[in-house]
Assembly symmetry: C3
């Protein structure tokens, strides 16, 4: 953790400074928990009560909010949330391990390692793997044959890559991620399942981040493809031959079935399920725990799911749900009868 | 990847050949992406438009579809999908690592390893473990005491087996699989939870495949049992004392609670949840994201869940859902009033 | 597995003994599977039919049930389920590995290990890590810098701790658990996502158990906090800055989004999803596959979700669901018309 002056931070985030140029900022905190030496932020008027009680030495605000907060140290920014992210990055610079090949790593002699890579203990690297410069591979990762990892990509501990996986530059793969396991493909054969050999791979673009224990299956044929800038949270399943477009973000515990195509800049809420062989347009927002079983052709916000109710009330309503078609027919019958009088 | 002649492929899949016996086939592709040298397939008339544009050198078709596709190289099969799976297997023969015990594996001296096994780097094998012939254990796997693994079973990297796990022949366990962790059992005790020690194990039959990061808990007492031919996708939870019958297939992200019994040849759609202590009959199909909270006694297709709608419309309907019981009462009141006139 | 006399077991669980003091008990079984030498248990009258057929040598019962079961060996307990758990613990004492530092573990010289710890093969321990006495760390675990693990805590194989993770005493972390991976935080920036560096950590209290492949993200700022006695099942996602109160139990496959606060002694059913930035009161029970998108202010049982129906019936009802708001309007119109006559 570094300490920076308020004027240094103003420069970094491109903000207008009101107050003490030389104030030293040591930490970022929420409005509620901030102490002396901290900087905090507020993104809208609804945070005004907390702002007025806040103990931070400085706050990042919109120009409008700054008007309601005179006499304090303020950085004025059009987007305080982005500015907050930039201040965190400035105060907590990335600490990558120094370049080093740990003696307890096991690297096939046919693998190609560029300069300035860091390979931790117990890493296993297979045949003809290519590791670009600046890559970090943490302890216990297994990189199978013919995979390639682009510049400055960071693999946390215990990541597994199956053969032929291709990863772009500046990606982050968190612990327990598995890329390239077999897609779930079987042909029925006399009451048993005949395995459809999965001979494709997984391809990740640049700036992709993948959360802990998320799995992305290899394609049956061709590639499962995750485009530049995609962000996947933890415990997500991406089926074989899925394509996810640029800068789409998917929250935790989402299941995406095989051959689904998801557009660019989508936001998929956590615990949602997306069926296979369908398309979702660009700029679609799907709220949490939604069920998508047909294609979505235009941008917009889509939802499904049933929020909790008291158990007794839910029991009553859920029984009615199973009678819903009959209820609709009763209403129609009533309408007819009344009309006919 | 091998190259095979059309007549060789016809023999392998038991198909009737129309066209050039000696045509060399190098790859399998979908109708849309196939190129010269590829073979493709179509399973029904709905694919006729794509078939007529397809660039493949040969196509696997039903006799009926072949009639609409004269003058091309065709393999006629009763089930083109199964034939496609068999062609993939023929063109991409299994490449298992050569038998070898990696010097960086750590194997207890009481473990019994049959001939022709492959143990990769950083594998840890405990006391009295039995590994049958032809088994492959990839890097980073941990096989705890008294476990046994049947012939030709394949463990991908970073699989964990708790003590006493029994695995049959010809199984595949993908990376991150955990078999035998403690079932979730606690007895309430003065506001705290008293752990019920889980002293059972996990038993897998033959030809079982388990997807990446799937977890199967050990039984509280006895065995959690997965029968022959069962296929489990990624990120599935199987609770303690669950029994899954032969040749049942479960798609990704399904939660199966403790002591559930699932029949033979069932198909469970992804992201479904199955409550504990219930039974599901043989040949039950459950569509994706379904909620099963009572037993299902007869074969058939069962569903629940609510597909997405535009967010505004969903909000309106979901409020009405919470009033559903009242709506039904209002309809009944209306019916009475009209009757009484 | 030990063998204990019925009178020894009666002492251990504080039960009244009816029958043979010296009877040797070797195993615990369910009513249905019990054999000679086993002890079983029944928690209520509904198990009377199974009890009357049970082959166990002894049974743990409430006083009321014991009255219906004369002439057998019985331990009378106020809570037979808890007594059963205590008997399992007595018959199957914990078998922890003997204290030992495996030569194939890799431990930074700045790490502090107390006496009587067990570190297995291929464990990697980073800088300034503190391991208290009696801790067991199984094969393949990676403990990153500045983490601390309290007394007698048990890590099963292939657990990953990110830097600065703090774990209390007497915890159990099952295989594939990942603590401290980055929370899912990004600020939108010109159609891309600007990463919000996650600089907090994960803190676990005492007596916490975490199931296989569960992930708990580090806080953006501060700590993600899991209080004493919390039990988490497998494949759960806990987002950044979540707080879970004492003795709350969460079943498998639950998704808990960032900054949610969950009270004490709650029970969250499997496959539920809890949105971010909300609060759940103490003593709340949420049934399985529920969707919580707003705060719950008082204790009680809450539910949502739609149980399965035959697919044909579900299709009809789900179409009606999308017309629910219109149905309600029709009912209102009918009510008006009838009133006006």
């Amino acid at each position: 953790m570094a300490a920076l002056s308020l004027s240094e931070l103003a420069n970094i985030i491109g903000a207008e400074l009101q107050g003490d140029n030389n104030l030293k900022i040591r930490n970022v905190s929420s409005l509620e928990t901030a102490k002396k030496g901290d900087i905090s932020f507020a993104t809208g008027r609804k945070y005004l009560p907390q702002l007025l009680k806040c103990q931070a030495s400085a706050v990042i605000l919109t120009a409008e909010l700054a008007n309601s907060y005179n006499g304090h140290n303020v950085l004025i920014s059009k987007s305080p949330y982005l500015a907050y992210a930039q201040v965190v990055a400035a105060l907590y610079p990335d600490q990558r391990p120094v370049a080093n090949i740990h003696p307890a790593s096991i690297i096939d002699e046919s693998a190609e390692l560029a300069e300035n890579v860091s390979i931790a203990a117990n890493v296993v690297i297979g045949k003809a793997v290519k590791i670009a410069k600046g890559v970090v591979i943490s302890a216990g990762c297994v990189i199978d044959d013919n995979s390639s990892i682009g510049e400055n990509t960071y693999l946390y501990a215990n990541v597994t890559l199956y053969p032929n996986t291709q990863i772009g530059n500046h990606c982050r793969l968190h612990s327990g991620v598995v890329l390239g396991a077999d897609g779930f493909g079987y042909a029925p054969n006399k009451g048993e399942w005949y395995k459809i050999k999965q001979v494709g791979n997984v391809v990740l673009g640049n700036n992709v981040e993948i959360g802990a224990n998320t799995t992305i299956d290899c394609a049956a044929l061709g590639s499962t493809y995750i485009a530049d800038g995609v962000k996947l949270d933890n415990l997500i399943q991406v089926g074989h031959n899925v394509h996810i477009g640029e800068n789409t973000a998917v929250a935790a515990c989402v299941a995406i079935a095989g051959s689904a195509t998801i557009g660019k800049r989508c936001q998929i809420g956590g615990a949602s399920a997306i069926a296979g062989h369908l398309s979702i347009a660009d700029d679609v927002i799907i709220t949490g725990m939604s069920m998508v079983i047909s294609s979505i052709d235009s941008a917009g916000v889509y939802s499904s799911g049933m929020p909790v109710n008291e158990n007794r009330q839910w029991r009553k309503n859920i029984i009615r749900f199973t009678q819903l078609d009959k209820m609709a027919q009763k209403i129609r019958a009533l309408e007819k009868r009344i009309k006919n009088r």
